[in-house]
Point group: C2
Chain length 96, copies 2
Amino acid sequence: MSAMIRVSGSSMTTAVAGAVAGVVRQDGSAEVQAIGAKAVNQAAKAIAIARVYLRDDGIDIVTIPTLVDVEVAGEMRTALRFSVIQRADEAGREPA
Amino acid sequence: MSAMIRVSGSSMTTAVAGAVAGVVRQDGSAEVQAIGAKAVNQAAKAIAIARVYLRDDGIDIVTIPTLVDVEVAGEMRTALRFSVIQRADEAGREPA
């Protein structure tokens, strides 16, 4: 289980990207969670930026988005969780 | 080059998910583009849903988000582009 990075609509994308890159460097993967459109947008942008940071270290990341129900202040909300994992080296395919 | 699926803030997530799943089944990969927080949120949710659809067919997808500059009505905008690709079978790792 890698660290969970919670992103809000006011999170700075570069700060989140730095956190994602740091966790991936240390643990090999990261989990990013966002609730609401603004937060999801910041999270997706941050992962795109983290991808650039990590590419410089020779680390190639992909992400798996999943919808999960989470309780926030006693209320059920649907969150988007992005599992950030390293791409299998042997895949070696670039997206078309 | 796989088909580009353009997502707006008012796109239905299940409709986009169906399109993503259909293109991946046919071409092996898909490209999804969204501009603005609402559209990015719909796109990310749709990919999460497409992942469930495709899993039933034994297809395991991951996505690579990239920030790209696109011209819309003569104006430069930053879009999020999600490359949806199949996960390398040999990777066989589940996210932590």
